[in-house]
Structure formats: structure tokens, C-alpha cells
Amino acid sequence: MPGDVTDEIEAPSRPESPRALFVAFTGLALQGFGGVLAVAQRVLCEERRWLTREQFVEILSIGQVLPGPNVCNVALMVGDRFFGWRGALAALAGMMAVPLAIVLVVAAAYAQFAYLPAVAGALKGMGAVAAGMIVGTALKLAGTLRSNPLGVRVGAGFALLAFGAVALLRWPLVWVLLALGCVACGLAWLRLAPAHAGGKG
């Protein structure tokens, strides 16, 4: 029975207070350049040992399905798990507060020095790298289509359609997601039927 699988094996440790959550998430956010997820896994599972790997993967998969920044959703759910909404707020605030102050200082400094060709050039270079990182991450994640019930071909087709509509045609995202999303989820629902004939619902 799919019960509370998450609680079967407990992690060896737990945060003593929301304040400890705040401190831990501030620390891991400050280590995360170009993304926090990898650091979050290392700190929460291996250093602090507040979560087992399985628990982390499960929280992450829910965080990825929900809208909003993945790592922020993870912070919320980890905090919620230990201290309810107070923990959720503490973890999220820890993740955001200090990095926000830093990024705004950097942005203000950029505005001061944007006229310098070297600064404009550096930002242009970093922008190109940022674009490449996103494409590289997409390429990495494309491998997950292999285990998708839609299959690689249909999945790749939907990915291409979404890309074309948003990047080339510049259609508003809300309509693209609603239209393509309904078709894709509907198709997935049909495909899931045979394999889960004995399941609930």
C-alpha cells in the first residue's frame, strides 16, 4: 500500500529549531553559484543528515512538478516537514534573504559601471555562458524522457512544439501550456492505463 513511505526510514538527525533551518539554508544558498540544488542535496543529506537520499529525491520530484522555483519549493517542504509553516518560512527566508541582498548590490554595481566596455563585455560573456548552462541542463534532463510513459518520440515532439511556440512564434506561455499541457497530460493518462490497470482510480 502506498502509505507514508517517507517516514519508514527516518534520517539520523533533525534540526533543533526553525532558527537552525534558517541558518542551514542561508549557508547552503551562499555556496550555490549557478544553482543551489546540488549543494542542497549534499548539505541536507550528507552534512546535516536531516533527510535520507530517498526522502530528498521524493521532495525534489514533488518540487519539480509544482510551479515555482524548484529549490524554493524544496526549502518550503523540508521546513514544513519539521516545523510546519514556521519551519517552511524559516527555510525559505534563509534561502532568499542574504542572497537577495547580495544580488541587488551586484545589480546596483552593474548599473554604475555598465558604461565600461569591459563590464558590458564581461556581462555579455556571462550571459552567453548562462544560456549555455540552461541548454546543457536541458540536454541532461532530456535523458529522463526515456522513462516517460509518453515515450521518447512523442515526448521529444511535445518538447519541440513547446520550443517552437515560445521561442520562435513568441506565443504567450499561458496558452501554450494550457493547450499543449492538456493534450500531453491526456495522452499520458491514456498511456498509463495498461501498466496501472490494477492501481487506484
Partner: protein
């Protein structure tokens, strides 16, 4: 900006928050459409710089939204865009995590996951495409492609890549 424009900006980010499946970066193309296109608050260079600044700073990538708001309308702009992008999704995440966790093996939940996954991928590629810009020179495209390949195939530290990009750009090679 007029009060109506502030409201439009806030409302748009509230909406994008609920659409940002796979992270805030997946809705960056739509932010570009509105901030650079429709409202004309920032230009192409500022848009790309916002994401680059956030990538080069520690913390979650979603902070690029605050940088965009800051470039568009100062600290008030940063507050409006960041609160807008966070508020609906965090509220929903708390409620839905408890709900979805209990129904992990339920067919509609699985169909939703499976159906949205390829769209999230397509949106990530679209974000990369839009970040490269309308009329990139070939060195820029080359740098983007090389980065994509390194991120995909190696475990090279992301900070090293950002640093390399900064140096290459500062030298005026792009």
C-alpha cells in the same frame, strides 16, 4: 510607471508564478515578451545581464527576477516582481505537497508529471534560445554551444564557466 502599469507588472508575475513548472527560468521567455517587448521597461542587454548577474551571485536562480525588477524600476520593482513570482507558487507548494504526497501513485498525478515533463524541457531550450538574443555573432553562439556541451557532458564547476565567460567577454572577444 503609472499605477496601472505597476498593477499589470505585479499581475503578470503572479500569473507566471503559477506557470513556472520546472523553475522560474522556464517562464523567462514570457518575461522577455512583456518586459522587453510589450512594456519596454528594459532592453535585450539588461534582460540577459539580469540572468547573468543572478547566475554569478550565490543563491537560488529565481533571484534573476528581482534583478530584472530592479533594472526596470529600482528596489520597488525588485520587490514587486519577486513577491509576484514567489507568492502564489509558495502558497500552492505548501498545500499541494501535502495533497500530492498522499496520492503519489494516483493515475492523474502521474499523468500530470509525465505530460508536463517534455513541455518543461522545451521551455528550457526556448530560454537558452532567447538568451542568446536576436542577432548574435558567431563567437557568442560558439561560447553558448561550448558551455552547453561542457555542462551536459562534464562535471566542471559552474563557477569556472561563468568566470571564463566573464574573462572572454571583458577582453572584447565576443
Amino acid at each position: 510607471m503609472s499605477p496601472a502599469e505597476w498593477l499589470a507588472l505585479f499581475g503578470h508575475f503572479l500569473l507566471l508564478s503559477l506557470l513556472a513548472i520546472g523553475g522560474a527560468i522556464t517562464v523567462a521567455p514570457d518575461m522577455h515578451r512583456v518586459l522587453v517587448g510589450e512594456m519596454g521597461l528594459i532592453d535585450d542587454a539588461q534582460f540577459s545581464a539580469s540572468i547573468a548577474i543572478a547566475q554569478a551571485s550565490p543563491g537560488p536562480n529565481v533571484l534573476f527576477v528581482a534583478v530584472m525588477g530592479y533594472q526596470a524600476a529600482g528596489l520597488a520593482g525588485a520587490a514587486v516582481t519577486l513577491v509576484g513570482i514567489m507568492l502564489p507558487s509558495t502558497t500552492l507548494a505548501l498545500a499541494a505537497a501535502r495533497w500530492g504526497n498522499a496520492r503519489r501513485d494516483w493515475r492523474p498525478v502521474q499523468a500530470f508529471k509525465a505530460g508536463m515533463a517534455p513541455l518543461v524541457l522545451g521551455l528550457l531550450f526556448a530560454t537558452g534560445w532567447i538568451l542568446v538574443g536576436e542577432t548574435p555573432g558567431w563567437p557568442l553562439v560558439l561560447l553558448t554551444a561550448a558551455t552547453a556541451l561542457l555542462v551536459w557532458r562534464t562535471r566542471i564547476h559552474l563557477l569556472a564557466l561563468i568566470g571564463a565567460g566573464a574573462v572572454i567577454g571583458a577582453m572584447g572577444w565576443l
